[in-house]
Each structure stands twice: as C-alpha cells, then as structure tokens.
C-alpha cells in the first residue's frame, strides 16, 4: 500500500489520481449501481471511441501541435466504412482498410500542409475540420448510410469471451500507443521535437517527416474510432463526431500532457478519458439533467487541471 501511495505521489498524475479516487467514492455513496462490475464495463465501453481519438491526438500535442480535425476525419472515415460495408455488396475487410486509409491520408495531408506552409497547425486543422465535414456530407449525399453487414455491426456490439470488442480495441490501442511513445525511436523523436524543435533538427532528426507521421497517426486513430462508432450505431453518419476533437483534447490536458509539447503520457490520457467517462456516467446515474452535466463537466475540466497544478507545485 505504501508503495502504491509513493508511486502515486512521485508520478506526474498525482492530482488526477486523487480527483479520480474522490469522485469514485462520492458516486459510490450516492448511487448503488455505480460501484458495480457491469457499470465499470459500461463506462469502458462508453469511453472507448473518445479514448482512441485521445491517444492519437496525444502524439500531436506532445509534438507541440494540435489537431482539431479529428471529429471530421472520424465522420469521413465512418461514412467510407459504411459505404463499403453495405449488406448487398460490402466487404468488412475492405471497408475497414479503406476507412483507415482515408483517415491516415487526411492526417498526412494535415501534416504536409503544416510542415510546408508553416501555417500554424491550429489554423490548418481548423480548415480541414470544415473541409472534412463537407466531404462527409458530400460522399454520403447528406444522408445516413444504413443497412450494413451484420458482421460489420458486430465490431461495435459483439464480444470475445464476454469482453466487448470495443474494450479490446481500447486496450490494444492504449498498449500500442504507449509502446510507440515510450519505447520506440519515433516516440523519442516526437518528445524531442515538442521539447525543442531547433535542437531536434540540429541533432539530425527529420523534423518534417516525424511531424507528418504524427498527424498521420492522429488520423489513423480517428479512423479506428470511426469504424468502432459506425459499427456501434449501425450507420455511417456524416454528422458523427461533432465536437469529439474537443473531448479528446480535454482528456489529454486533464491527463497532464503539456499543451506546450514535449511532455506527456498515454497513461495520463487514459486516466483523463476515464475521469470524463466516470463523471458522465455518475451524473447519469444521479439523474442530473444533460444540461447541468455540461456545466459540471466544464467546471471539472478546469478544476482537475487546477488541482493538478497545485498538487504538483506543493510536492516540488
């Protein structure tokens, strides 16, 4: 126990760990349904799409950038996936492959424009956010794409030995992105670029290439989220993913990743997503109105970061 406490204290997630802990205790006292296994699985299931998006954008933020086009990339990839997974003519494999390809491509284009035009990524991805939304509406003709293959839908609703595919996917993407960030050359380069781009360049890192890859990764993760979401709701919605980028970025920030770049972790992001999920779930169980939930959520985002700041300052 002592070891766990000292681990929490020494880790950079101290503040958020405590916030998570107290929130759980609070909800457990308020609602009997909250501290149950079924509810825990439900929460994980609910956060899976946001988590996958958040993992992707963590790379971007650590590299010192930002990606506002996640939600739109998700919509485009989702529609593409749906169009190629129709009951009459579709193929699950092709549909997934194409969706992932489109998402990655859109991310890469974000990266290329950022790198070569030197326009700040905030503006580039703000533009591609709108472009993407338009494209999603164009290729779907403005209507939801429904009537999808049963095997495709099972990605969103099926399970393996009782564990929903969405949770498996959540854990897989978490492990892969943790590995990439903390144990691969790419991850080290991403942190170096976010920490000091000039020094990274002089040290012989191909800054432009890495930056493109980072945006590509972010697009790829958005597309994975798209496949999951499309399968879950059985339709390709051109309006899907509105505002998802902000949820993902909020989770990354709550998880302690610096918006200036250079510092951050996937575990932090996971905790951030989980925290948001728990609050949504808890407030649902307490029958708090959806309007109030938004107010509370926003306040908590600020408080969580504030708490984290205070905590990490006092422990220094």
């Amino acid at each position: 126990m002592k070891k766990i406490i000292s681990f929490i204290q020494e880790s950079q997630y101290g503040g958020i760990f405590f916030a998570l802990f107290f929130t759980c205790i609070f909800f457990s006292f308020q609602s009997e349904q909250f501290p149950t296994w079924t509810n825990f699985v439900l929460i994980l299931n609910q956060i899976s799409v946001n988590a996958i998006l958040a993992f992707g954008v963590t790379f971007v933020i650590i590299a010192g950038g930002i990606d506002l086009s996640l939600g739109s990339i998700l919509a485009v990839s989702g529609v593409v996936a749906a169009l190629f997974a129709k009951e009459d003519s579709g193929s699950v494999g092709l549909s997934i492959l194409l969706a992932l390809f489109v998402g990655t491509l859109m991310g890469l284009i974000n990266g290329l424009i950022t790198v070569f035009s030197k326009v700040p990524p905030f503006i580039v991805t703000l533009g591609s956010m709108t472009i993407g939304r338009g494209l999603a509406l164009l290729i779907s003709d403005g209507k939801p794409v429904s009537g999808l293959l049963e095997s495709f839908n099972s990605i969103g609703n099926g399970d393996l030995f009782g564990i929903p595919y969405s949770i498996i996917l959540l854990i897989l993407t978490f492990l892969i992105s943790t590995f990439l960030l903390d144990h691969s050359i790419l991850g080290r380069y991403i942190k170096a670029i976010g920490g000091n781009e000039m020094a990274a360049f002089v040290s012989g890192i191909s800054v432009n290439k890495i930056k493109c890859m980072v945006y590509g990764l972010s697009g790829l993760f958005a597309a994975i989220g798209a496949v999951l979401l499309t399968a879950r709701i059985n339709t390709g919605q051109p309006n899907a993913g509105l505002g998802f980028e902000l949820d993902a970025i909020a989770a990354v920030i709550i998880g302690g990743t610096s918006t200036k770049g250079g510092k951050g972790s996937m575990l932090g992001t996971f905790i951030g997503v989980f925290f948001i999920g728990i609050i949504n779930n808890g407030l649902d169980l307490l029958n708090v109105s959806a309007y109030w939930q938004q107010v509370v959520m926003g306040g908590i985002i600020i408080l969580a970061v504030l708490f984290d700041r205070l905590y990490s300052h006092s422990s220094k």
Partner: protein, 487 residues
Amino acid sequence: MERHGRKLVSLKDVSVAYHSITVLQQIVLDFYAGEVHAILGENGAGKSTLLKTIFGITSPSQGEVIFYESRNVAMVHQELMLVPELTVEENIFLGQEFSFSKLPWKRKKEMREKCISLFQEFECEIHPNELVKNLSIANQQFIEIIRAVSKNAQLILMDEPTSSLSEKELILFTKIIDKLKNQDVGIVFISHKMQEIYQLADKISILRDGKLISTNLLQEITQKELLSQMVGRDIPQFFPTRKSQIAEEILSINQFSSRSNKFQNIHFNVHKGEIVGIAGLVGAGRSEIGMAIAGIDTHVAGEMFLKGVQVELKSPKDAIEKGIAFLGEDRKQSGFIPDFKISENISLSSLSKFQRFGFLQKQKEEQNAETEIKKYAIKQLFKKQAVVNLSGGNQQKVVLSKVLQTNPDVIILDEPTRGIDVHAKHEIYLIMNELIAAGKAIILISSDLPELIHLSDRVIVISKGKQTATLQKEQLNPEEIIHFAMQ
C-alpha cells in the same frame, strides 16, 4: 587602506537549499554603495542563487538578508527579461509607467523625455521607438541596465552581463559601470572572463560548492590564486599543450557563399588532427559559416569536398551521416531538449545505436550515459535530472557528448566555452585534445581570443561576411586578428 561607502545590503549566515540539497552555505557578505563586486566560481557554485537571494526571488532557508536603506535592488538576469514586441521605451518603463492619473499623451511625453535623458547620459544610440526584438543581444542588455537605472536602484545585480558582448560593446559597458559607480550605485556581477573582472571589479568574492571561499580587494589577489581558489586546487596548465600531427586533408570549401548574403567567398580546408579557428566580431558571419558546413543552412552556393569527394548537404541529418558534427553557440536554443534527462539528450543524435527493430534499448542507453557522465565528469544532483536544471558547464558537456556520439570526422564547435567556468573550460580543452589525437578535425569558432590563439593551428578571420585573412600558427596574436577582423 580600505575605503568603504555606505553599507547597502548584508547577508547574515544565509543558507539556501532546494530539495534538501544545499546550494548556499552560511554566506556572510556585505555590499557597499559605489563598489563593483565580482562573484566568481565554477558553474554550480551557487553564484546565480546568491544574486537571486539578494534580489528576493529565492528565499534563504536560514539566515537573513538585511537592507540598510531601501529594498530598491534591480537585477539583470542571465536570460534577458524584455518583451520583444514592445518598444525600447515601453520596456524601460514597463510596470513603472508614470502615474495613470495623468492624461495619456502627457504621460507619454514625460516617459519620452526621461528616456532621452537616460540615453544621453549613457551615450546610448538606440531609438526609443525601436522594437526590442530588432536589437542585438548586447543592446538588449544595455536596455536592461538602463531599466535598472531608471528605477533608481541602489544596488544592481548582473548575472553574466558580459558573456555575449563583443570587444567594442565591452568598452561601452565598462563606461556605464564607471558612471554607475560615480553615482554611488552598488554593483554585483558574475563573470567568467578574467580580463573583465580585472578591468571592472573593486572587490572579488569566490564561491565554491555553495561556500564563500574568500573576499578580497582586487589588488590583494593574483589571478593564479583566484583560479586555484575557484577550483580548489592548482590548475596545472590552463591551455593544455598538444603536439600537432596534421595528416591528410578531410574537408575543404571553395567559393562558399550564403545565398542570403550572410557570407561570401569563403575558402579554406581542414586536415585530420588540425584545429582551424574562425575569428571575427560578433555578427561577422562566423556562426553562419559553421551552420552552412553542418547542413543546417542549406541556402548556400559553392563547393564542398569531404575526403576529396564533392558533397552537397541537404540537412543536419545528412551532415551527421557524412561525419560532420556541430555544436551550436546557444545550447539552450539548439543544443539540448530541456525536459530530457542526460541519457536521453546524449543519445539523441545516435538513437539508431540504441534500438532494435525500432524498440529503444533503454538499458543500453543508460549504460552508455553512465560511461559518458564519468568520462566528462558531468555533475548531476540526482539521477533522471532534467538537463535544463543542470549548470551551464554541465549542459555544455552533455551537448558535446551528444555531438560526439555520432563519431564524426569533422567537428564544428561554435563558442564551445561560452558562459562556462574555468574548470569546465579546461575540461573541454582536454576533450578537444583527445579528439585531435584521435585524428579528428576541429573547426573552432570563438570570440575568446586567448582560447582561439592557443588552440588553433590556423585561423581564418572573417569581417562582415568576407574572409580577410588566413593566419598561420606563428602569426597568431590578438592585435593581428583584431586588425583583420575590423577590416
């Protein structure tokens, strides 16, 4: 006979500790009006902390700082604290704008008048409306000093004010210091340059490992005593001797010009086992030549031959792969990743050595760092300490170690000893000797003339982007170099 002005500030048994690590230990010191007090010590000796404690950003964990008259102390920080997007005038009066009860245009007029009178007093030729971002580092420094004066500070603390000044600017700086002295302002400054300390200081205090070793009037202590007190032992020889064993040519450049006109028509060659120095005033284009050879600035024309083969570099990565390494003049800007620990910084240019199938081999990386930390005697307070928190000399050694990890043939060192203490300087000279003995070639860019003269086999002099002379070892002396540098 000691003549003292009024006592301004006293430190009584002041100790400072961070993270339970003691940085300053029971310092007892007095500062007087009209006296220039130099603080000397190696990097990490606690000099900056001492100034910060007087200034009040750092509070002592024991003892107290006593102010006899007022607390009006100003500090010129090592990193300049000006707002780049504001004008010179706005920066000077930032936070002390004349009363808001007055009408804005009247206030502006008063500020302008005061600014002009200050500029006249200090013979400053900068226009009050100039944006600070357009000023040279030296001029920014003057603005910081004038800002301190405008607050009527009684005591001005300066953390390495001269580290980025050219010879000419130094003369102006000396004048300002003299003027302040005459106005009975007390000055405390940190410097690593002996020549300036002898020129400016009245009194010298030496810190070592957080302890005050001695305080002496300038005439009471010899340079040799100073050095040995700083390092705690005698330095056998400041510039280590070496035998030149110049072998075959490794790099040559011909008709080398910058397309953005930073330098023109540079031509020289470098042999294995040779140090070629590049001299010139600040802003003459020396660093730009270094950056072009290292592939950082690819906007160049002309020929470059590496081991007899013509090459055209596309990026720093390209240069590193071809065996050219570069150590930049500003380690904060282009040297290290601030939040990375030592091992991560050291391996940054050579990560391919520490990976298998894209996996980082962190253990191997750590082991390598251990060896390097020992080899270069890099001091860290605790393991995993971020490089940004190391002292300047240790940061420099980390960056140097990173640069040498790629096993280069040609090493470009741009101001390798700027802002680091004598001991660390000496260590860097020893490393350079080792490299030369191993048959590497070094291009040394330095503003420190004694260093350049003692270390180089040959010196190229640059003036306003043009090569004005190539001086052989026998011809090297300060007068000759300055003569060509000012041509």
